[in-house]
């Protein structure tokens, strides 16, 4: 799919927690076909300290309404500026970028595992898998009940298993400690979250011989594979996270 630079219109900007928000964008032109795991490079206006675009994974797509949504956590001045966008504002993006989560084999038992704002691409992935006839199950981890986001939307995808670090909702602890992982055998896990979480899920998967893909969040400049800043170390050497990722099979990573 050809990449393009385009101004999209903000139609909604909704706060989910004190530092996480979802921006819904509509396009004048028909949005290109997008795949779960892909990302967009967002230009941040009115933020003097922000020079580079910000890579944001696609949270959901509605081809009928011609909209896409981005789930963003405030991490610095750039994302803080994005959090102030209002309906009617334009947002310049470069997309679609990156590879995507692989398509599972027929009949596989699939788990979507994520935490914090890393759950972002899993909603799009869940919708996609359901449309392809799969029945994904979802394992989500958050710090506490106040930080649980979009629970209902994930619950529409399939059974949701939840952990919080303080036990204020779901099982107490990290997602890798959830009982579902010892009770059930999944064939494939798709994971996105903080790096320690993804590493823990990766080692669980490798131990159990489960196929596992993770979505990395490396610092990026260009997003199109020319600056070579966002590399990750793989069995093939340094590769760009923006073009050969952001989704990697954990067997390819030197974790």
């Amino acid at each position: 799919m050809a990449k393009r630079i385009e101004d999209l219109k903000v139609i909604d900007n909704k706060r989910l927690t004190d530092d996480i928000f979802v921006i819904e964008l509509s396009a004048n032109n028909k949005i290109p076909e997008l795949f779960p795991g892909q990302f967009v490079q967002v230009k941040v206006e009115n933020s003097p300290g922000t020079f580079l675009r910000r890579p944001i994974s696609v949270h959901d797509v509605d081809y009928f309404q011609n909209t896409i949504s981005l789930l963003i956590q405030i991490a610095g001045t750039g994302t803080s500026s994005l959090s102030k966008l209002a309906a009617g504002n334009n947002l310049n993006i470069v997309y679609p970028l990156g590879n995507h989560f692989s398509i599972p084999d027929a009949g596989e038992k699939i788990l979507l595992a994520g935490g914090g704002c890393g759950v972002a691409p899993l909603l799009f992935l869940g919708h996609y898998l359901i449309s392809e006839g799969y029945k994904p199950e979802i394992l989500l981890g958050f710090r506490n009940s106040k930080r649980v986001i979009e629970y209902e939307r994930y619950a529409e995808l399939g059974p949701v298993y939840l952990t919080t670090e303080d036990g204020s909702m779901g099982q107490k602890g990290y997602i890798t400690g959830h009982s579902v992982l010892s009770e059930r055998q999944f064939d494939r896990i798709y994971c996105c979250g903080p790096e320690p979480m993804m590493k823990a899920v990766a080692s669980y998967s490798m131990e159990k011989g489960i196929e596992c893909e993770v979505s990395l969040e490396n610092l990026m400049a260009c997003g199109i594979g020319v600056c070579l800043c966002c590399v990750t170390d793989t069995v093939r050497g340094h590769v760009c996270t923006c073009t050969e990722g952001p989704v990697f099979n954990v067997n390819d990573l030197k974790w």
């Binding site: 393009r4 230009k43 199109i224 800043c229 340094h238």
Partner: protein, 306 residues
């Protein structure tokens, strides 16, 4: 009608907008965004004899009006370039220049010789100014004797147009430009990145794995402009201006300061179509100001400097 052509010796470029090495891949990465045949030239990613992995991640930090990088010349080597990239270059109606790097003088010479056999590569850019490699790179470009030695050795084996890319991390960049000219270089390009440091206060450590990196973006533009102006007054060979060019106005400033051409670098990370927009803006400016060719515009600020 505006004539945008410029030349290095007898090598013609259709316009003065080139893309800086390491910011434009091998060109094809931009096919979705622009027609790269519109550009004056493409300087491909810094190339070495052997493949290189570059430095460990993290190797980029955003800084005020710019960025620091410490990529360290990651590239797949000249064999890969010759087998996988070179065959496609004929599809582009623009000059493709190879940026030549090495750890030792012998590497530069061997690589220049390899490139001299590639008929469709009319020029090399000798990179003696990369700040992010342990050996070679900037070590050559910040010592007058080493610079002279490597330029002389490469000139002896390379018959195409030789552009020397200069480091700003020196006391007197004019001296290095003069050495380049004396040793038979056909052009100099400047500036490569400025050596810098970024600190992550929260984590109380350097932001880059290599500690230091090279600064690029609008933050370096006034330094680059000053150096281009100084060098253009001191040498007769064409000067290619590089450093924080984001817009056509930036590019025009470099030409008015004495640059024969310019390179668009970091701007392409933020707007993949920046190079073509800059080209269009230069043309519009020339029409508006009544310039019929670049030579009329080049170095014009000197008219008001006594």
């Amino acid at each position: 009608m505006v004539n945008l052509e410029f030349s290095i010796g007898d090598l013609k470029f259709k316009n003065p907008v080139l893309t800086a090495s390491g910011t434009f891949g091998y060109g094809a990465e931009f096919d979705d965004f622009i027609d790269i045949s519109r550009l004056g030239g493409i300087i491909v990613k810094g190339t070495t004899l052997e493949p290189r992995e570059g430095n460990p991640y993290p190797r980029m930090a955003e800084t005020p009006s710019g960025m620091l990088n410490a990529v360290g010349l990651q590239n797949k080597g000249i064999d890969y370039f010759e087998e996988s990239i070179y065959p496609h270059i004929k599809d582009y109606d623009t000059n493709v220049v190879v940026n030549v790097n090495g750890s030792y003088l012998e590497d530069y010479v061997a690589l220049a010789e390899r490139v001299s056999h590639l008929d469709r590569i009319p020029a090399i850019e000798l990179n003696i100014s990369c700040p992010n490699v342990k050996m070679g790179g900037m070590a050559f470009g910040t010592n007058e004797d080493s610079a002279r030695e490597v330029i002389r050795a490469v000139r002896a084996v390379y018959r195409g147009k030789l552009i020397v890319k200069l480091s700003p991390n020196v006391t007197d960049i004019v001296a290095f430009a003069r050495i380049s000219e004396e040793e038979g270089a056909d052009s100099v390009s400047l500036i490569n990145t400025l050596l810098g440091l970024a600190v992550d206060a929260e984590r109380m450590r350097p932001s880059l794995s290599t500690i230091t990196g090279g600064l690029s973006g609008p933050a370096v533009k006034p330094v680059a402009l000053r150096m281009v102006w100084q060098v253009a007054r001191a040498v007769r060979i064409p000067v290619i201006g590089i450093g924080g060019i984001m817009t056509a106005t930036d590019a025009i400033e470099f030409i008015l300061a004495g640059a024969a051409a310019i390179q668009v670098g970091t701007a392409s990370f933020i707007d993949p179509a920046a190079s073509v927009k800059i080209l269009e803006g230069i043309e519009q400016f020339m029409i508006r100001k009544g310039f019929s060719n670049l030579a009329e515009m080049k170095g014009r600020i000197n008219d008001v400097i006594s």
